[in-house]
């Protein structure tokens, strides 16, 4: 309203606008002086810089100069030619309009885009001045935050991958980190009534085990506390690339480090042209919508122009490349929505089949232990459970039920045999198959062996899976006669079985099995109570994949909601070159590779093949590495070590919190701080984007102000600040930051969400969290696929598929061409109907690294599976001298060294003379890893188990060729794509041998 009135007045009279402009410029000076007197924090800020700033209109008609010197401010009503920085408005009217609408960000960025306002001069001063001007809007620089907790402790709030936390701080040091327990004012939770009982979750949050290790990691001796340079790296002389991973480091100043990185950015672009900069990051790093890799990092990398590293859908693989072709769900990478399934499962289901599903270990990624109590309710209600997993996992151990242990990488054989029994004994929903599916006859004929004279009977599958035919027959009969929830993966649409050579076919069959049983009917759905709690899905708060402040409309979910709600300068990356993440080593060593897109917009997005280098682009010459280490998570990791040591890679900078993994292969290391040492804002388990409404795996929606709990340790800085200081050296400071501090961005995001409707900024800042109230029964989201099973319009609260992707009428039918569940996929028939690796119907195609590969199997007779770890999150939280090291099932201390664990059956161990906690060499032609042996009955003979995710890569000799003592189990896995028309990882197709290790090679 105010700005409307101002607009009306200003357009009427130039004299008024001139007068108002001059008055406001004087007002800025007065407010600065007042704040200087009142606020110690503002006094400290004024002491940071000595320079001259001015605000003026074009043509020097009106303006004012501000001098900052030794903490004092002076001002003159005139412009000068040599100010360090100048803010220039088109004219006084537009200046007044913008200055009176400082939180109207759409107006502000429109003015920037149209050059109604511009800044000149040095970025260092310009950004500081713009941030300072924004601080004048509020009397207090920072509202008080935190809760007094007695004994001089203040309780702050923060957030993690494993749940929101209270952080108790005393004298600037963290005392403890605990889960959040609600107070009397927080919203009441929901209640589900099922089978005569009522269930309500407790009024608190759970956290993952690694959260309790955080304090030890924040204060770890492996923290990077100052910038460093490899001792034998000289950007103006010998670079000694071959010594990466071998040479030591020396401390340098921030100015030296940032100057060196900025100069290298300029140099590689100057000498090689677009594409020469590659940036890569782990999929997960820290928590918060602003400091995230999809936010601050992406904004910077887009701003300088860099080759985009395409992430393969690593946790989804078989679902993305396979299942999607039968039911759509492209926006979820081929996984499914799970609305309303907690209530439906508890009320209706009689059986839950966990297939490659261990939510008690993997927590649905961000679900902490929220699903545990729901599964305990299911047990209390007598819902039967079956666990199909080569490893007797923790979900099976906790809940009980039948454990079936197939040979790894053969899952689809069992799936086909189950379908065989259903067909043979009439145990499927014929009406549903007739009305809601297409292509069943073709699949049925394949299963019955009418094409290849090979009926896919339970007896047939026994040869593949080692599971007795009678067990599969019993399972099929049980499943075919009970209302069943199928949980493929701990989070539906994940699971180790989807990350192997047969994983695509397995995931496809999971959809087809549910299509036979009436997906969406009461009690018949996907899940294991890990997802689908009845929370408020209408209340808007963005997930991290919506891109925060990235300005990125191409590779984040920003354009769905965030760009409208939080208008910001878009950041278009002018470099269109893409590098498949799994081929980074080849991109450097061979300077050539190709891949397929991870583009979930449509089913066909994945059919786009791309080549590297892109036409007219330079191969990558500089690597800007950020976040977690790839050694522990990417296949055939020794390739990465070799690539790092190549002279093709002229410069490597690693921005990292800890000195671990790949950081030890950098030329320059920039020390970032944790999200406990900076400001951010984020909702628990809200990823947005590819897992829309992921927070419904929590029992409560908990949105947190992520307090800056302590000052950054040592000289470390927030990622935002590091990128900003680099941007300033490239003249990009203003577009990068929009003149905002991190805390100002937090408030901007707060205002863009639905939070201001229910809580004030000051109260949110002080308390640190908000619990979104559970909704009335009638407002709960409907059950996924119920609409489909009942032939109605889609009614679950998700925007996908895109309107254009419905074949006939919007919201009617699935994303598939037929709009139905497709046993025979129309998209695959269109794309590559004769592809023997992925035919239009799911079939059994033996693994390319398994018991059928005879020669290899004789040499390496053990199937290694390497699921997501239980006590760390990929490489996050592992090692670094933290307390997680002491978890008996995570690492084992032997002769002063914490070794990674391989789990081996007692029979296999006895054959090899291996005793519990012996050091063993796990090896194949790709590499060797030294592990501690856990001798166990939890795994079938012939299979060994070791988690992925070691943060330590410590070759005992030459990096890239010698045994790794750190535990990077991916040293052993194949980098081959699951199928050639994909960009995918088959980490659970890995044959190895294990033998005792005597310690040779260790000095």
């Amino acid at each position: 309203m105010v700005s409307f009135i101002v607009d009306c007045i200003l357009t009427k009279s130039e004299r008024i606008s001139n007068w108002m402009f001059e008055f406001m410029l004087f007002g800025i000076y007065v407010v600065m002086q007042s704040k200087r007197i009142i606020l110690p924090a503002f006094r400290r800020r004024l002491k940071e810089k000595n320079f001259t700033a001015q605000i003026k209109v074009r043509g020097d008609g009106f303006g004012r100069t501000y001098r900052f010197h030794n903490g004092r401010v002076s001002s003159e009503r005139k412009t000068i030619p040599n100010a360090h920085m100048t803010m220039v408005f088109r004219d006084t009217a537009s200046a007044v309009q913008l200055m009176t609408a400082s939180t109207d960000f759409l107006k502000q960025i429109n003015a920037m885009k149209n050059f109604v306002v511009d800044v000149e001069g040095r970025d260092e001063y310009a950004i500081w001045f713009m941030q300072t001007l924004k601080m004048l809007q509020h009397l207090r620089a920072t509202p008080q935050y935190g809760t007094q907790a007695g004994k001089n402790e203040v309780r702050y709030v923060n957030n993690t991958n494993g749940g929101p936390v209270f952080v108790y701080v005393k004298k600037g040091r963290i005392v403890r980190i605990t889960p959040i327990t609600f107070d009397g004012q927080d919203a009441r939770p929901w209640t589900i009534c099922a089978r005569g009982k009522s269930f309500t979750p407790p009024r608190k949050g759970t956290v993952n085990p690694y959260v309790f290790g955080l304090k030890s990691l924040i204060y770890s001796k492996d923290r990077l506390l100052y910038p460093m340079k490899r001792v034998d790296f000289d950007p103006h002389g010998k670079r000694n690339c071959n010594n990466r991973g071998i040479s030591g480091y020396e401390r340098i100043s921030w100015d030296q480090a940032l100057d060196m990185v900025a100069e290298e950015i300029k140099r590689v672009k100057r000498e090689h042209g677009p594409g020469a900069i590659m940036n890569g990051s782990g999929s997960h790093h820290s928590w918060g919508n602003l400091g995230y890799w999809l936010s601050a990092k992406t904004r910077f990398m887009n701003s300088i122009g860099s080759s985009h590293v395409v992430h393969n859908p690593d946790s989804w693989e078989g679902w993305y490349w396979g299942a999607m072709h039968h039911w759509g769900n492209s926006i979820r990478n081929g996984a499914t929505d799970t609305y309303g399934t907690v209530e439906d499962c508890l009320k209706e289901a009689q059986l839950i089949v966990f297939w490659s599903s261990d939510p008690e270990s993997t927590s649905g990624v961000y679900g902490a232990f929220e699903g545990t109590i729901r599964r305990q309710w299911a047990k209390e209600l007598g819902i039967q459970m079956v666990h199909i997993d080569p490893y007797f996992n923790h979900t099976a151990a906790l809940l009980g039920g039948k454990w079936i242990a197939p040979r790894p990488d053969t899952g689809n054989a069992m799936a086909l045999a189950i379908a065989y029994v259903w067909i043979d004994e009439g145990l499927y929903d014929t009406d549903y198959v007739r009305d809601r599916t297409v292509g069943f006859d073709k699949w049925r004929d394949y299963i019955l062996g009418r094409q290849d004279d090979l009926p896919k009977t339970p007896e047939w599958q026994e040869q593949e899976t080692n599971v007795p035919a009678r067990e599969v027959r019993a399972l099929a009969r049980l499943w075919g006669s009970r209302k069943t929830y199928l949980s493929p993966g701990g989070l539906t649409g994940f699971g180790g079985a989807c990350r192997c050579a047969t994983g695509i076919e397995w995931a496809r069959s999971m959809v087809c099995l549910m299509a036979m049983q009436g997906l969406g009917k009461p009690g018949v759905n996907m899940g294991c109570l890990q997802q689908g709690a009845p929370l408020d899905t209408n209340f808007y708060f963005p997930g991290y994949a919506e891109g925060g402040l990235s300005g990125d409309l191409d590779y984040t979910g920003m354009r769905v909601s965030m760009y409208q709600r939080m208008p910001q300068l878009p950041t278009m990356n002018s470099v269109s070159q893409m590098i498949p993440r799994l081929r980074i080593p080849e991109a450097i060593l061979d300077q050539a590779c190709e891949g397929y897109s991870t583009d979930p917009k449509s089913i066909e997005g994945q059919f786009k093949k791309f080549s590297y280098p892109a036409p007219g682009h330079s191969p990558a010459r500089m690597y800007y590495k950020y976040g977690g280490s790839h050694f522990g998570t990417m296949a055939d990791s020794n390739r990465f070590a070799k690539a790092y040591r190549s002279e093709n890679l002229e410069f490597v900078v690693n921005q990292s919190i800890w000195f671990e993994g790949e950081a030890k292969f950098a030329d320059v290391i920039l020390p970032a701080c944790t999200n406990f040492e900076r400001w951010d804002i984020g909702e628990t388990a809200n990823s947005g984007g590819y897992s829309h409404h992921q927070f419904i795996q929590w029992n409560h929606r908990i949105i947190t102000m992520q307090h800056k709990c302590i000052e950054p340790l040592g000289e470390s800085k927030s990622d935002y600040q590091i990128f900003l200081e680099l941007a300033q050296r490239l003249g990009l400071g203003a577009p990068y930051s929009e003149g905002m501090t991190e805390l100002q961005w937090c408030r901007r995001l707060f205002e863009a969400s639905d939070l201001p409707r229910v809580i004030s900024w000051n109260r949110f800042m002080r308390k640190g969290y908000y619990v979104v109230p559970a909704v009335a029964d009638e407002l709960r989201a409907p059950v996924s696929y119920r609409w489909f099973a009942e032939g109605r319009k889609k009614d679950v609260p998700e925007l996908s598929p895109l309107p254009s992707d419905f074949t006939e009428t919007w919201r009617e039918g699935l994303q598939t061409q037929s709009g139905k569940l497709e046993f025979e996929s129309s998209s695959l028939k269109r794309f590559a109907p004769d592809d023997p690796e992925r035919p239009p119907i799911p079939t059994y195609i033996p693994s390319w690294e398994g018991h059928h590969t005879r020669n290899l199997y004789e040499k390496y007779p053990l199937n290694l599976i390497s699921p997501h770890p239980r006590y760390s999150f990929h490489t996050m939280f592992d090692a670094k001298d933290g307390t997680i090291n002491d978890v008996k099932d995570h690492r084992v201390l032997i002769d002063g060294y914490y070794y990674w664990i391989v789990r081996i059956n007692s029979r296999d161990a006895a054959q090899r003379g291996i005793k519990p906690n012996d050091l063993v060499r796990v090896f194949n032609d790709r590499g060797q890893v030294i592990c501690a042996a856990h001798v166990t009955e939890r795994i079938a003979p012939g299979t060994v188990h070791s988690f992925e995710g070691s943060a330590v890569y410590e070759p005992i000799g030459d990096p890239g060729t010698s045994p790794d003592r750190g535990g990077c189990i991916n040293v052993l896995t194949s980098s081959r794509n699951i199928i050639s028309k994909s960009h995918s990882t088959a980490s659970n197709s890995c044959l190895v041998q294990v033998e005792s290790w005597s310690g040779e090679g260790i000095s």
Binding site: V175, V207, Y219, T372, T883, D886, R938
Partner: protein
């Protein structure tokens, strides 16, 4: 006076280690004067989680036993301590004074539960304090209990008599650390999962060419001529008798399946075992 008791449900423990790690979060790097010196970051396990795998592949189960200080009424460490270094508080907690206990390594050996750890740097014995410093400040549960996501750990704040009655009514047991066990204040539910054995088996009909799981068979467990337990085989033909003492010798299993199918098996129990696949 009300006293603090810890109750552990073995069946609900899944080895998440939240208790172990929350304990470290509270006690590593923090001195709590009068209660405990800080715990070294590595090496000590004030909440020690023990693992038990029962049976052989594939007939197995797994249980975990969180084992903190038992806060015994007749604490052997207190008897072994010199100059009053160990006190038993009226509210039940046993505290090793970090000052007075300096040099008293004998306390480590005195504990029948292995719950006391030696701090080499500070030359003091250390153990679980029940987070007395927090409960004294108004907290309602120690860190391990707050951290537990499954309900495996809980506290009771009761008069001694009330706790005894609760233990009887709910079938709670204490760990037996031997002759000098000292009357623990930590109680366990479903301790059989860790201490006792099972006998299991899988019933099958048909022949090698085509077999099926024999569901619904009646399976009886006898000791001499006494019927101990009766089960019905499940959908997979599996049965399982539990709670059998280890090394308890011979048992007899009788199986009845539909009309006429009858079978007897003799088992000698040393540890948990399966009779394997039984063809009916």
């Amino acid at each position: 006076m009300k006293r603090w008791y810890l109750v552990v449900d073995v069946e609900k423990c899944e080895n998440c280690n939240n208790c172990f790690l929350a304990c470290k979060d509270e006690h590593c790097g923090n001195d709590w004067p009068g209660y405990a010196a800080s715990q070294p970051i590595h090496g000590q396990r004030w909440m020690n989680i023990r693992r038990k795998e029962r049976g052989r592949f594939p007939a197995i189960d797994v249980a975990y036993l969180p084992t903190p200080c038992m806060h015994c009424d007749d604490a052997p460490c207190r008897l072994a301590a010199k100059n009053g270094a160990v006190i038993k508080r009226p509210d039940g907690m046993v505290i090793i004074d970090p000052q007075k206990s300096r040099g008293q390594k004998a306390l480590v050996r005195s504990c029948p539960y292995g719950a006391i750890w030696w701090n080499e740097d500070r030359q003091i014995p250390q153990k679980c304090t029940f987070c007395a410093h927090l409960l004294d400040a108004g907290w309602t549960e120690p860190r391990c209990v707050q951290a537990c996501p499954t309900g495996a750990l809980s506290v009771q704040h009761l008069e001694a008599g009330e706790m005894e009655r609760l233990a009887v009514s709910q079938g709670l047991e204490v760990l037996d650390g031997g002759k000098t066990a000292g009357r623990p204040n930590v109680y366990y539910r479903n301790l059989y999962r860790f201490k006792k054995c099972f006998i299991s088996g899988t019933l099958v009909t048909g022949d090698a060419g085509r077999s099926d799981c024999a569901a619904g068979a009646t399976v009886k467990l006898y000791r001499n001529e006494t019927l101990l337990d009766k089960k019905v085989s499940d959908d997979f033909g599996d049965f399982k008798f539990d709670g059998i003492p280890p090394n308890s010798g011979p048992y007899r299993i009788e199986i009845e399946y539909r009309a006429g199918g009858r079978k007897q098996i003799e088992v000698v129990v040393q540890e948990s075992c399966s009779v394997g696949t039984v063809w009916l």
